[in-house]
């Protein structure tokens, strides 16, 4: 790809970016949110049309014409996107063959058999005739990869494929990637996990603010330098945060207490307390019930048993609004489905929760709404063309900041953050972690959930460990180490 330009209303997403991918290599594409990674990939796959620039494929002097995803597919360029783009109400096999214009889709038996074989080869634990929505997010992601792999691709693009996979699944994926590399497939790998880059990639291309920073062989670019390149500044921030060892020293006032709380989402009853100004976290493998616990605290799922007390007084809560009225805020795990209201503007998204709390008959005036929007856009450094921009056209990290701002605007006493840093860049991650600690020091209680244990260790002073939808342990103080957490998650078998 040579000299690619692409603009959106109000934003120049790409400014003359070059990118080269060789046969049989795994090439990491790195950059902060809004650096232009996703845009570059969408240009390559024909989702967006480029404004300027050319794309050349192997063995051809003429620029390739890629005007639609179909063109890209025909040229052997396959993509697995960050957000799963399959059809949840079709079967796994149908999802793998749909839109391929071949006869497979009409020959059900053969299709299911073929799909079954591929799944088996890749070691994906799903049945061909299973409905996709019955699979976990991780498996859905792997089906998407299986689909791409089966299409005989020469170029495979993986946009944040690992953000919802647990460690063993990631390992499996990496095995698959190495296998494909050996077969001569060029892989573009977009991720925010630095470890994974160093584990599997050969080269790194770094983008920043829509511009090319450089292309590097992995050995020449140590981790600290990579981060510095992505951020465009020398990085002490990360160290700074790491040095703080979290020990809860605040007051003893209990903000929220739950006893035998249970929701209909299939978790065992659990007890929970959080003190004023404390940061705690739920940890455990994917599907261990961490999200379900915090959802129960926010009444996002139907509560079937248990009592909740706020500052020692029993409160009756049955729906999210009750929880909000009791000063609880919840940033959900799935930003796209449960967080953003896509077509509404940044401003409307930002004031939504505060507005609902204020009441149906008391809309904020335009001036008030603008004031809030401007204040939080500045405070959280949200990158948006204006407050009127639809939130869906923002990058993932900036969408997340808007949702965070939405809840901060309600001035909660207890803030629940479920995977707030998933799929967002390292700079924003650190910003969010810092913000959490700052809020806690100001007296807000925070529950923080993250798939990255070191992130949790850095921010939380107490970890609640979950296994198989049950609370199995609690760690604090000296016990807050990576190995201890792993041990508790794994249980006695280790």
């Amino acid at each position: 790809m040579r000299g690619i330009y692409k603009s959106f209303p109000g934003v120049r997403a790409l400014q003359g970016v070059d990118f080269t991918l060789c046969e049989g290599e795994i090439h990491a594409l790195m950059g902060e949110n809004g650096a232009g990674k996703s845009t570059l990939i969408k240009v390559l796959t024909g989702v967006y049309e480029k404004d300027e620039g050319e794309i050349y494929l192997k063995g051809s002097e003429k620029p390739a014409v890629i005007k639609s995803p179909q063109d890209a597919q025909n040229l052997g360029i396959s993509t697995v996107y960050q957000e799963i783009t399959l059809c949840p109400n079709l079967t796994v096999a149908e999802n793998m063959y749909i839109g391929r214009g071949k006869a497979q889709i009409t020959n059900w038996k053969k299709m299911n058999a073929d799909a079954g074989r591929i799944l088996e080869n890749l070691g994906i634990p799903a049945k061909a005739n299973q409905q996709l929505s019955d699979c976990s997010i991780a498996i859905q992601q792997m089906v998407a990869i299986a689909r791409a792999v089966d299409m005989d691709c020469k170029v495979l693009i993986l946009d944040e494929p690992t953000s919802s996979l647990d460690e063993s699944e990631v390992e499996k994926l990496f095995g698959l990637m190495r296998d494909l590399r050996a077969r001569g497939v060029g892989i573009i790998f977009v991720t925010h996990f630095l470890d994974q880059v160093y584990e599997v990639c050969d080269k790194i291309t770094v983008l920043r603010d829509g511009q090319l920073v450089g292309e590097y062989v992995i050995e020449d670019l140590p981790r600290v330098k990579l981060v510095a390149k992505m951020l465009g500044k020398e990085l002490n921030d990360m160290e700074e945060i790491k040095d703080e060892n979290q020990v809860y020293t605040g007051e003893e006032e209990l903000v929220i207490e739950a006893e035998g709380l249970q929701s209909d989402a299939g978790i065992k009853p659990f007890d929970f307390v959080i003190k004023k100004g404390e940061v705690n976290g739920f940890t455990g493998l994917l599907g261990s019930g961490r999200s379900e616990c915090v959802r129960a605290l926010f009444c996002a799922d139907k509560i079937i048993a248990g009592k909740v007390k706020k500052k020692g007084k029993p409160v009756k809560m049955t729906k999210p609004l009750d929880a909000m009225k009791n000063g609880i805020a919840y940033l959900p795990e799935d930003r796209k489905i449960d967080g953003i209201v896509g077509d509404l503007s940044v401003r409307e998204n930002l004031i939504l929760a505060a507005q609902v709390l204020r009441g149906f008959f008391k809309p904020f005036s335009r001036a008030e709404a603008n004031k809030f929007a401007d204040e939080y856009i500045k405070l959280l450094e949200i990158k948006t063309a204006s407050a009127d921009t639809p939130i869906k056209s923002l990058s993932g990290g900036n969408q997340q900041k808007v949702i965070l701002a939405r809840w901060l605007l309600t001035h909660p006493e207890y803030l629940i953050l479920d995977e707030p840093t998933r799929g967002i860049d390292i700079g924003t991650k650190i910003e969010i972690q810092k913000l959490v600690l700052k809020l806690a020091s100001e007296g807000m209680s925070v529950t923080f959930i993250s798939s990255e244990t070191d992130e949790m260790l850095r921010t939380c002073s107490r970890l609640i460990v979950m296994r198989d939808r049950k609370v199995v342990g609690e760690l604090s103080g000296e016990d807050l180490t990576q190995s201890k957490v792993m041990e508790t998650i794994a249980g006695g078998e280790m």
Partner: protein, 360 residues
Amino acid sequence: MTGKKSIGTENKFADLFRRQIFIPIAALLLLALFNLVVDPSFFKITLGHNSVGDPVLTGYLMTILDYGSEVAILAIGMTLVTAASGGQDISVGAAVAIAGSVILRVLVGLGGDGTLQAPILVGFLAACVVAMLFGAFNGVLVAIFRIQPMVATLILYTAGRSIAAWINNNELPIITDKGFTVFGGFIPGIPIPTPFFLAVLCVVIALLVLKFTNLGLYTQAVGINSSSSRLNGLNPTFIKWLSFVILGLCVAVVGLIKTSRLSTINYSVIAKDIEMDAILAVALGGNVLSGGKFNIMASILGAYVIQFLTTTLYKFNVSSDALPAYKAVVVIMLVVISAPTVKEKLGAWGRSLKKQKGAA
């Protein structure tokens, strides 16, 4: 953000195409232009006197104002239903028949001599209650039982006219009181048809409600992402339900206008196919039919555009049987133009045009 300002000025032309209200305005101008070229007498308005000697304005434009207002009133409710539920209510024609029937039943009763047995206001309020109840019924099916809106409202679409006939025991009560003709005719001394004033009143109320409550924000949020709305403390079920109840209120007003025009009712013909015009008005207004963002004024304008089209076709002596076919052709054109992909292309075209101009 250096690009922001230059894009702002450069894209004004493209912005015009993207503006939601652009489509109905363009359609209106196009229709007006067509009539102006073919036969300028279309725009002639004459001041005459009706049978009771009151001054009235007549002409095609007055017909549009008169009948377009019925669709406009329904379009208000239909826009909200569309935005909140992502579907449409196809039972409004039948519901208008029910509302009209209730008015007649309350005002003259069975076997009456045509004199008023109750104040008109009481009849109207009864119609409001009944129409809102039927709206609530549709709302329950859609919001609680999660039935596709078109399928859910198919029930009332099928049964509504029979229910309307049953309310009056299949009789056709006639109101002889002249006072009742005001709502579908003229207020003595004012030469503009009353339905237009009723439509203005409804629009003003709707706009005030949207300004002084969060109905707009809540409806759009629920229509775009109901799961996220719930986690922000909204009750999507209630808001969807509410939109159907509000549409019921609009139905009652149209029921009043319709029965007032005839001073009686024809169960199988009254407000026939008006639901299609109301849905078209919403579509013409550029509102997404799968729910989400909406613009009431664009729908209202869309309603009058549709009546403009109907009246134009009638003027050219298109028989009422052939009318839908002609209408369909025009509607296809309008809807295609307002489709997002076409709009994007038009916008890009506008930009390149501007660029060429700049270069020259």
